[in-house]
């Protein structure tokens, strides 16, 4: 049985609510989805939470996934979850500011310890704008084709190609500094 047939069988099992199929789906995609969340947030704890949320949402929504690439759908869901998280974070920050509480300011020592934990790539990715960072991360971890990514982002394929090229070139320059 080919890999794609196997995956198709797993997805059918998931759509029927089979726990074993979900377990196999997690084994296949957890690593890549975690990589995507980690590169987007730079935080392991947040990535843990987002990964849990992703698979619970997959259980709830997999019946609505009809045709098309499963990976495209999965990473689109992951992207939505990440942006929901980002919006929540910004809302909380605004709320704290409105209440007169200043958001927690990290000490230089804490920042240094956190920086030691994250690799050089993470530090440089932080310097890119969110859209470029997401495009690079999505392309790498989802393993989707440019066409699929362009469809997912609702933009022409030429735009996706140019943006990714510019982003990776910039990242390369930053890493060489």
């Amino acid at each position: 049985m080919s890999k794609s047939d196997d995956l198709a069988r797993i997805i059918i099992g998931c759509k029927n609510g089979d726990s074993e199929s979900f377990s196999r789906l997690i084994d296949i995609y957890a690593g890549r989805c975690y990589g995507y969340f980690y590169r987007m947030t730079g935080n392991k704890e947040v990535s843990d939470d987002l990964l849990s949320e992703l698979f619970v949402r997959v259980v709830e929504k997999i019946s609505s996934q009809k045709g098309g690439s499963f990976e495209g759908w999965l990473f689109k869901t992951a992207s939505n979850i990440f942006y929901d998280h980002l919006r929540d974070k910004q809302r909380q920050k605004k709320l704290l500011e409105l209440e007169g509480n200043r958001p927690e300011i990290k000490s230089a020592e804490t920042e240094r310890l956190e920086d030691d934990e994250i690799d050089k790539l993470q530090k440089q990715l932080k310097r890119l704008d969110m859209d470029t960072k997401e495009l690079i991360t999505l392309r790498f971890y989802s393993e989707l084709s440019f066409k699929e990514i362009a469809v997912m982002r609702s933009e022409p394929i030429g735009t996706t190609l140019s943006k990714l090229h510019r982003g990776l070139k910039k990242l390369r320059e930053l890493m060489e500094q």
């Binding site: 609510g17 089979d18 726990s19 979900f22 377990s23 997690i26 084994d27 957890a30 690593g31 890549r32 975690y34 990589g35 980690y38 590169r39 392991k44 990535s47 843990d48 990964l51 849990s52 698979f55 619970v56 997959v58 259980v59 709830e60 019946s63 690799d119 050089k120 790539l121 690079i136 392309r139 790498f140 971890y141 393993e143 084709s145 440019f146 394929i157 030429g158 190609l161 140019s162 990714l164 090229h165 982003g167 990776l168 070139k169 990242l171 390369r172 890493m175």
Partner: protein
């Protein structure tokens, strides 16, 4: 990470840019993605995976129940709709096969005459009938003429027919 479209990258760029530029862009992209390969992201902890699997298992059970209720609800709605359609079709058919109700004449005067007129006319008719009856019974004894009796009968008939004509 593998790149399933790696071999088509140059071809893809050539659709939008000139060959030299496409070649350069392909190299830039490969170089950039190479950096990502050299810096792998951390893997999720085994405990996290076990925890997610437990959560997902519970969520799947919950979802199965929801789907089951949803299916039942859909079936019930479909059955109710079918019953409504059947009942309305049956009612239509029954309406078509039923003979038309005859319209009784008694209904018309009631609609045309009001209660007061009706009572007056009924009294007149009754009075005339009584007169006829009295004439008939006294026909031989009190010397009433045959013509008077006939006249009275004509009057009664006239009043009666006027009444029914409205």
């Amino acid at each position: 990470m593998s790149d399933k479209n790696e071999e088509n990258l140059k071809g893809l760029f050539e659709k939008f840019f000139d060959p030299a530029e496409a070649e350069k862009m392909t190299e830039d992209i490969r170089g950039g993605e190479e950096i990502l390969k050299r810096h792998p992201a951390p893997r999720p902890a085994d405990t996290l995976i076990a925890d997610i699997k437990a959560k997902v298992s519970q969520a799947a059970l919950r979802q199965r129940k929801i789907n089951l209720y949803r299916k039942l609800a859909y079936r019930m709605v479909a059955a109710a709709a079918a019953i409504i359609v059947l009942v309305s079709i049956t009612a239509k058919l029954a309406e078509k096969t039923q003979p038309e109700k005859p319209v009784t004449a008694s209904a018309s005067p009631k609609m045309i005459w009001d209660d007061k007129d009706l009572t007056t006319l009924t009294t007149e008719i009754e009075q005339a009938e009584d007169d006829v009856f009295a004439l008939r019974t006294d026909q031989n004894g009190n010397g009433y003429k045959e013509t008077e009796l006939t006249e009275l009968e004509i009057n009664v008939t006239e009043i009666s027919s006027n009444f029914w004509k409205g």
